[in-house]
C-alpha cells in the first residue's frame, strides 16, 4: 500500500506465515518435545459422552514404554501370537515398500509411495477392525491390505499396470481397489474418501447391519472441505465410523503448521463437532490397536464416530517424485522422539520373552524372500516400462455400464487411425 493510505496512529497489521523448526542442514533438537509417559492417559468407557473426554484430544495415548513394556489402561493385552502377526505384517509392508521403491527406481514403473515409519497406523488399525469393516483409505494405507493378507502379487500387478492388473492399467500405481478385502478404490484427490466412509457407515446403520467404516487421511488434507463435511455428517447422524488422521508432520513439503498444527492438535477438530477424539502415538502399534478397538466398540454400540489422530513421522519422501532433503532436515527422521514402530514392537516382544534377535532376523529374511518371489511372479505378467499390456479397447470400457454410441465411435476411430498409420 502507498504511504498516503497508511494511518500512522494505528498499529500496522502483520501476516503470520508458519515456518517449520528445522530446514535442510539444521541440527535437530527435539528436547522441548514433551512426550507424555506411556500409560498416562485414562481409558474411558466406550459409551462416554464426547464432552467428557475433551482432554484426550490434547493428550497422547501410549502403551509401550521406553523399556518395551506394555503399560496402562490402554494395553490391549493381546496374545503374543497376535503381536507376532502384527510385527510380521509391518515387516512385510516395509519389505514390500523397499522392493517396489527400487522397482520404480529401476524404471519398471512410473511411481511409488512408501509408508516407512507409519506402518503401525495401518496395521494396528486393521488388526483391531473386523475384516468386513469397510476401509476408505488414502494413498499410504498399503498396510491395510497386507494386514488383511491380500495377495501382494495382486498389488504389484497394479503397480506395474500389467496383464495381471485387475484395474486394467487405469490407475496410478498404489491406487488399489479391493472390494473383497473391504478396501475402497483409492482416489488420489484428497479426503474425498472421508464423506464416503460416513455414507457407508450411515447406510450400514440404517440397514441395521453390524459393519462399521473407517477412513484415513493425512493431516495436511484435514484442511479440505470434504473433511469438515464428513465430520458434520458423522456427528449429525452418529455414524458408526472411525475417522483417522495420519499426522506424519509433512504434506509433501508443507509441514503440519500449514494445516493448523501450530494452533492446536488435529484430534481437537473433534471437539467442535461434539465428537469423541483420541490422539495416539502412531509409532506404537499397541496404542493404535487400542484406540481403534475403542472407537470400533463405540461405533458398534451406536455411540457414534471417533476421530483419531495418529501422531507419527513420514520417514521417507512423499513419493518417488519427491526429494525431502530439499525442504527438511535429514536429522528429523533419525532423531524422531517416538522411534520406529517395528523396532518398538520388536522390543516389546523381546521384553516379554516371546521373541529374539534370531527369530527377527529370520522373519526379515522370510518376508524379503516372500516379496522377491511375488515380484518375480508379477513381473512375468509384464512391466509398465516394457510396453502396453492392456488391450486398446479396454480404454473405452467401464466409462458407463453400456458403451454409448459416442464412445463406440471414438473407439472405432482410434483403431482406424492406428491401422492407417501402420501401428
Amino acid at each position: 500500500m502507498s504511504d498516503e493510505s497508511a494511518r500512522p496512529n494505528l498499529r500496522a497489521l502483520s501476516l503470520h506465515v508458519p515456518e517449520p523448526k528445522f530446514r535442510p542442514g539444521d541440527a535437530v533438537d527435539f528436547s522441548d518435545f514433551a512426550i507424555p509417559p506411556a500409560g498416562s492417559v485414562a481409558r474411558p468407557d466406550t459409551a462416554v459422552d464426547a464432552g467428557e473426554i475433551k482432554d484426550h484430544v490434547y493428550g497422547l495415548i501410549r502403551v509401550l514404554d521406553e523399556e518395551g513394556r506394555a503399560v496402562g489402561p490402554w494395553d490391549p493385552k493381546l496374545a503374543p501370537e497376535r503381536l507376532i502377526r502384527m510385527l510380521r505384517h509391518m515387516a512385510l509392508t516395509r519389505a514390500f515398500d523397499d522392493r517396489m521403491y527400487r522397482a520404480q527406481r529401476q524404471g519398471k514403473t512410473s511411481f511409488y509411495m512408501k509408508c516407512t515409519g507409519e506402518e503401525a497406523t495401518s496395521i494396528g488399525a486393521a488388526h483391531a477392525l473386523d475384516r468386513d469393516d469397510m476401509c476408505f483409505p488414502s494413498y499410504r494405507q498399503q498396510g491395510l491390505l497386507i494386514a488383511r493378507d491380500w495377495p501382494i502379487v495382486d498389488m504389484m500387478c497394479q503397480i506395474y499396470s500389467n496383464r495381471g492388473d485387475r484395474l486394467k492399467g487405469r490407475q496410478l500405481p498404489i491406487m488399489y481397489s479391493a472390494k473383497e478385502a473391504s478396501f475402497f478404490t483409492i482416489s488420489g484427490n484428497l479426503t474425498t474418501q472421508y464423506p464416503q466412509a460416513v455414507g457407508f457407515a450411515m447406510a450400514s446403520a440404517a440397514a441395521g447391519d453390524t459393519r462399521i467404516a473407517a477412513a484415513w487421511c493425512g493431516e495436511g488434507s484435514t484442511a479440505e472441505g470434504d473433511f469438515h463435511s464428513a465430520m458434520t455428517f458423522a456427528s449429525v447422524y452418529r455414524a458408526p465410523v472411525i475417522l483417522n488422521v495420519i499426522n506424519n508432520q509433512w504434506a509433501i513439503s508443507s509441514y503440519s503448521g500449514f494445516a493448523g498444527a501450530e494452533a492446536t492438535t488435529f484430534a481437537a477438530r473433534a471437539v467442535g463437532y461434539g465428537m469423541a477424539g483420541l490422539r495416539v502415538d502412531g509409532n506404537d502399534a499397541l496404542a493404535v490397536y487400542a484406540a481403534t478397538e475403542w472407537a470400533a466398540e463405540r461405533a458398534r454400540g451406536n455411540h457414534g464416530p471417533t476421530l483419531i489422530e495418529h501422531f507419527t513421522y513420514r520417514a521417507e519422501g512423499h513419493s518417488t517424485s519427491d526429494d525431502p532433503t530439499k525442504y527438511r532436515s535429514a536429522e528429523e527422521g533419525v532423531k524422531w522422539p517416538l522411534g520406529d514402530p517395528i523396532a518398538r514392537l520388536k522390543g516389546h516382544l523381546i521384553a516379554i520373552g516371546a521373541w529374539d534377535e534370531d527369530r527377527h532376523a529370520a522373519m526379515d529374511r522370510e518376508v524379503a524372500e516372500e516379496v522377491r518371489a511375488a515380484q518375480k511372479q508379477a513381473e512375468k505378467l509384464g512391466l509398465l516400462s516394457d510396453g502396453l499390456k492392456q488391450p486398446f479397447d479396454s480404454m473405452f470400457e467401464d466409462v458407463f455400464e453400456e458403451m454409448p454410441w459416442h464412445l463406440r465411435e471414438q473407439m472405432a476411430q482410434m483403431k482406424a487411425e492406428r491401422e492407417a498409420a501402420g501401428l
Partner: protein, 337 residues
C-alpha cells in the same frame, strides 16, 4: 392417468421408485419433513421413513460424498441439490468420484446416483438461483445428463435415471414446474392441467435415457431444444408459422444422435437453443456434431440461441433469457440463407 404438474410427477416418480426398491434413498437440504423447497419430496418421509428420506447438513460436497459411500454399501441414492447454482461445492465428488468409480475400480465399485437439481431461470432468482450448468456435466466422462420438459417425461425419465447403474445429473427446469412457458413473461401462466403432457400414469413406467422426442414434424428447419426452451420454441413456431421440426433432446448424454442427424439431413437447417451461456455451452457440442454429421446437407450456418456470456442478471432477466424475439430472429436468419 392423472393430470400432474411437473413437481407432482417428480414426486410420483420418487414414490414409485422407492416403493419398488428399498435400496433407494432420498436426501438433501430440506427434503425430509418439509418436503423440499419446491415440494418435490413432499410426503415421502412419511411414507418411506426417516432413514430413507432425510434432511442433510448444508454441504453439497458432503451430500454427494456421502451418497458415493452409500453406493459402496449397495444403496441407490437420489440426492437433491436445492438449486443447480449450489452444485459447485459438490463438483469434485461428482466429477472425480461418482463419475469415475466404475472406471477406476474396473467395475468393483459403481455409483448409481441420481442427482436431482432444479435449474434454469425465468423466476427472478438472480445469479445464484437461475443458472443452467449442464455443459459442465456433459463435459465429464462417465456422467449422464437429463433434462425433462414436461410432467410425463419427467416421471418416466426420472425412474429410468434412478434405475440406471451410472450416475445421472437430472436437471429440472424450475420455470416449468407448474406450467409450460412460451417465453412471454408478461402473459399469465397456463397450468399443466390444460396440456396433454400432464397426463401421467400413476404407476411405474420409464422413458429410456438417450432417446429424443420429436415434438413437431416440419420440413424447413430443425430446432434442437431441451427443458424450458422446448416450449419457447413451440410458441415461436406457432406464432411465426415457420415449418420447423422441433426436437426435445431430453437426454444430453448419451445423446440421440440419430434423431438429430436424420432431421437436419431432411431440413438442411439447424437452430440450437438453450438458456445456458453460449461459450463452451452444450450448443457448441451440438453445433459441432451437426457440422460433422450433416455438413453436406446444410444450407445455412448452424445458429445458436443461448443466454449471453454474462452472469444471470436479476432485473435484466428477460434481456438475458433467449426468448421468442431472439429465437424468431434466428429462425428468420437461417431461412434467408
Amino acid at each position: 392417468m392423472t393430470s400432474m404438474t411437473m413437481i407432482q410427477a417428480i414426486n410420483s416418480a420418487l414414490d414409485v421408485a422407492m416403493g419398488a426398491d428399498p435400496k433407494i434413498v432420498v436426501m438433501g437440504e430440506d427434503v425430509g419433513y418439509f418436503g423440499g423447497v419446491f415440494k418435490a419430496t413432499e410426503g415421502l418421509q412419511k411414507r418411506h421413513g426417516k432413514t430413507r428420506v432425510f434432511d442433510t447438513p448444508i454441504t453439497e460436497c458432503g451430500i454427494i460424498g456421502v451418497a458415493v459411500g452409500m453406493c459402496a454399501y449397495g444403496l441407490r441414492p437420489v440426492p437433491e441439490i436445492q438449486f443447480a447454482d449450489y452444485i459447485y461445492p459438490a463438483l469434485d465428488q461428482i466429477v472425480s468420484e461418482a463419475a469415475r468409480l466404475r472406471y477406476r475400480s474396473a467395475g468393483e465399485f459403481i455409483a448409481p446416483i441420481t442427482v436431482r437439481s432444479p435449474f434454469g431461470g425465468g423466476i427472478f432468482g438472480g445469479q445464484t438461483h437461475s443458472q443452467s450448468p449442464e455443459g459442465i456435466f456433459t463435459h465429464v466422462a462417465g456422467l449422464k445428463t437429463v433434462v425433462p420438459s414436461n410432467p410425463h417425461d419427467a416421471k418416466g425419465l426420472l425412474i429410468a435415471a434412478i434405475e440406471d447403474n451410472d450416475p445421472v445429473i437430472f436437471f429440472e427446469p424450475k420455470r416449468i414446474y407448474n406450467g409450460p412457458f412460451d417465453g412471454h413473461y408478461d402473459r399469465p401462466v397456463q397450468p399443466w392441467s390444460k396440456f396433454a403432457e400432464s397426463e401421467v400414469p400413476e404407476g411405474h413406467y420409464t422413458i429410456p435415457l438417450g432417446k429424443a422426442k420429436l415434438v413437431r414434424e416440419g420440413g424447413d428447419v430443425t430446432i434442437l431444444a431441451y427443458g424450458t426452451m422446448v416450449h419457447v420454441a413451440a410458441g415461436v413456431i406457432a406464432e411465426t408459422g415457420i415449418d420447423a421440426e422441433l426436437i426435445d433432446l431430453r437426454t444430453l448424454v448419451p445423446l440421440d444422435i440419430e434423431a438429430i442427424t436424420s432431421s437436419v439431413r431432411k431440413t438442411g437447417r439447424c437452430v440450437i437453443v438453450h438458456e445456458a451461456t453460449k461459450t463452451s455451452g452444450f450448443g457448441a457440442e451440438l453445433s459441432a456434431l451437426v457440422q460433422e454429421h450433416c455438413f453436406h446437407s446444410l444450407e445455412a450456418p448452424v445458429e445458436r440461441v443461448t443466454g449471453w456470456d454474462t452472469p444471470y442478471p436479476h432485473s435484466l432477466e428477460w434481456a438475458y433469457f433467449p426468448g421468442p424475439v431472439r429465437l424468431g430472429e434466428a429462425l428468420k436468419r437461417v431461412m434467408r440463407d
